[in-house]
């Protein structure tokens, strides 16, 4: 991949939904040009640190000492070429869907006829969210792990209109699974933005989605009319709102003024790392990002954003989605839903009653530990729950 060589946007009035024969997937390897790496090294070397009091805490933002260490390691210890080679051991492809080249990992089981699962990441992660669970699940399932539209390696949807952007992305994924890969029926696994996408797929294509497995209820649940809720549900949403005010300002910026922020994040690798690591810290169980996620892995995820210049599109998604929401609390998923809830995820454990308002809950697992990036932080717990849920679904039909 040449990070300088991004496709021109809006080169014609091509529509997303325009029918064309699905392109054959092309094998794909990640390759970052040396000049991008050289430029990055210079920028890291020349990081201009902002002076603020309280350097030893996380109270004002990403802890200074932690970030300095990370940046120093990124500059002098981190070996991108090794990570790149490791990523390229995964069978990756790109396929043209509509006007967009969608990147995905596709691991077929050795035996034919295994249930296909589509694994969907969120922000600020990437397909890489699932790197620890791919080997755990690939024995029992065919796995498709796409890079979502607007994110590293797939990039923004080409020729897309402003309406319901997440629903448009879901439609691209549907066409990838059915038209390109020939799976008429599959399961979907998602967290964060991936949870919303999974729900839309199940609502829009109930005939093709066997079941969905989620780690959260999706952002639209926070818009539920509180007057219709029980005391427990109200308490949960109030707690979530309080949490939102304390730690979710990043989302307010994404929702309302993403372009004012994107320039700095796309121009400063230390700034990009700080913006992302702050989220991984808030949304880890241990509070120690290196222990929970691994320093090389954290940087690999950040690198994917840096070299593809995807941070701007990835946060613009928030703004576009707020303007034209794809899901509302009135939407309901009728297909079976498995929920694996990790106690330190944003807002904590939701009441089951709240989940059942929008989801056909068939499995409810309260995990002993773990947080937002469960597939990454607690791969065994996560993979076991996913495996049991879909095997039970297949057996019970």
């Amino acid at each position: 991949m040449n990070a300088h060589d991004t496709p021109a946007r809006g080169s014609g009035p091509s529509s997303l939904l325009q029918e064309r024969p699905a392109a054959e997937p092309q094998p794909y390897k990640i390759h970052v040009e040396q000049e991008v790496l050289d430029d990055l090294r210079d920028r890291l070397q020349e990081t201009r640190w902002a002076a603020l009091p309280g350097e030893r805490e996380w109270a004002l933002g990403t802890r200074r000492a932690s970030l300095r260490e990370l940046i120093e390691y990124w500059r002098s210890g981190f070996d991108w070429r090794r990570q790149e080679a490791w990523l390229n051991e995964l069978p990756q492809f790109k396929a043209r869907v509509g006007a967009t080249d969608v990147h995905f990992v596709h691991v077929r089981g050795r035996e034919a006829g295994k249930m296909p699962l589509l694994l969907l990441h969120g922000w600020p992660d990437s397909f890489f969210r699932f790197h620890r669970v791919i080997p755990l699940l690939s024995g029992s399932f065919d796995l498709v792990v796409p890079s979502l539209p607007g994110f590293p390696l797939t990039g923004p949807l080409q020729g897309a209109g402003p309406e319901q952007p997440t629903r448009q992305s879901a439609e691209v994924l549907w066409r990838l699974m059915t038209g390109v890969l020939g799976y008429p029926r599959f399961g979907v696994v998602g967290g964060d933005g991936g949870s919303v996408l999974a729900q839309i797929l199940a609502i829009d294509h109930p005939e093709g989605i066997s079941a969905i497995h989620l780690t959260d209820l999706g952002w639209h649940v926070y818009n539920t009319d509180a007057s219709s809720l029980s005391g427990t549900e109200q308490k949960y949403l109030e707690g979530a709102k309080k949490h939102f005010l304390a730690d979710m300002a990043y989302a307010m910026v994404h929702n309302t003024r993403p372009r004012s922020l994107a320039t700095a994040l796309n121009d400063s690798p230390a700034g990009l790392a700080s913006w992302i690591v702050d989220r991984f810290h808030s949304w880890s169980d241990s509070g120690d990002v290196d222990a929970s996620f691994g320093r090389d892995a954290l940087l690999t995820n950040i690198m994917l954003y840096w070299v593809t210049q995807a941070i701007g599109p990835s946060i613009y998604n928030y703004f576009a989605e707020v303007r034209s929401p794809s899901l509302t609390p009135a939407d309901r998923v009728a297909r079976p839903v498995g929920l694996a809830l990790f106690p330190r995820d944003i807002g904590g454990l939701p009441p089951r009653r709240l989940a059942e308002r929008t989801l056909n809950v068939q499995r409810w697992t309260e995990m002993p530990r773990g947080s937002h990036f469960a597939a990454w932080e607690e791969p065994e717990l996560f993979a076991r729950d996913v495996g049991e849920f879909f095997q039970h679904q297949a057996g019970g039909r």
Binding site: A50, L52, T62, V253, R257, D267, G271, S274
Partner: protein
Amino acid sequence: MPVPFTVAIAEPTLQDLQRRLGRTRLDPDDDATGWEAGTSPAYLRELVEYWRSGYDWRAQEREINRFAHFQATVDGATVHFIHERGRGPRPLPIVLTHGYPDSFLRFLKLIPLLTDPAAHGGAAADAFDVVVPSLPGYGFSAPPRESGLTFHIGDLWHRLMTEELGYGRFGAHGGDWGSTVTEHLARSHGDAVIGVHLTDVPFWHAFQKPHDLTPAEEAFLADQERFQEREGAYAMIQGTRPRTLADALNDSPAGLAAWMVQHFQGWSDCGGDVETRFTKDELLTNVTTYWATASIGTSFLPYYDLTHAGALRWMIEKAKEWVGSSNVPAGFALFPKDLTTPPREWAQRFFDVQRWTEMPRGGHFAAHEEPDLLADDLRAFFRPLRDAS
């Protein structure tokens, strides 16, 4: 003792800035012209290109240095300020306080109108001695060593005006954080302050919700809430994660410009075209001042202090204690395109309002946008007060 000060950014700092501008990574695919999702990418591209190839900091610096600058150590902290003496029979000292995302530069157009009214269509009797400090952590004032200073800047200004500059009684004016600082100054040092002139009612009064709101007040507070929802994200992130944001903005000049310029476009009476109110040179001189002094992180401290539980409690206590208790005469000049415009009765809850002017035009940066309107109002407000003093 105040020491004369000359603005002189070190050459390596400018060279480093130039190099960074040359390698700026703007989103290659984003050429949108609109401002609704933040600073217009098309405008930013133009601005960064001009910054790199047309803008001349040294020329701007010469203009800035036509004013008399000083630094003084007040309560252990270095404070930068402009101090221009008035031309008139009895100039009244006045301290002007800026806010975010501006700086002492906010007042450069206003200063001559106040120091030398006779040369600008006014009367020499209305002359002021003008003091324009930089807030701690902004520009050439040293940053606070710890958080929590925001609600004591009024004390610093009092010491600056009395101990360092030897004034007995003086006037004060401010907008944005400047109006909060000015109010604190008046509340804590009422004997020294002959009057305060503000372009807004310090926003934090909205934290107390009186039970007897008039319809106009209710509408105003609802408007303030809508403002928070629509574009209050900058204050939320600056208040809760200042370092995370500053890590990026202090490392990318283009990013710093994008973050700051959104407000000059959004909050001025520019009809959507920021350059009807600010030239590129004016925008970039303000941004370059933040950049060269690495101020952006510390400029967020007032927001952090506000969000910090202790400070909030302190303010709510003060707000209760201070209801209706101000003895310092207050004048308000409200500009129609400011963030929100309060009704007079809201201001009267907290201030002894002696002058209330609703301006025909202008926005948040009134001193820069409409210096003549503001100067006239300041002269008129302080005229009876200076006679009585």
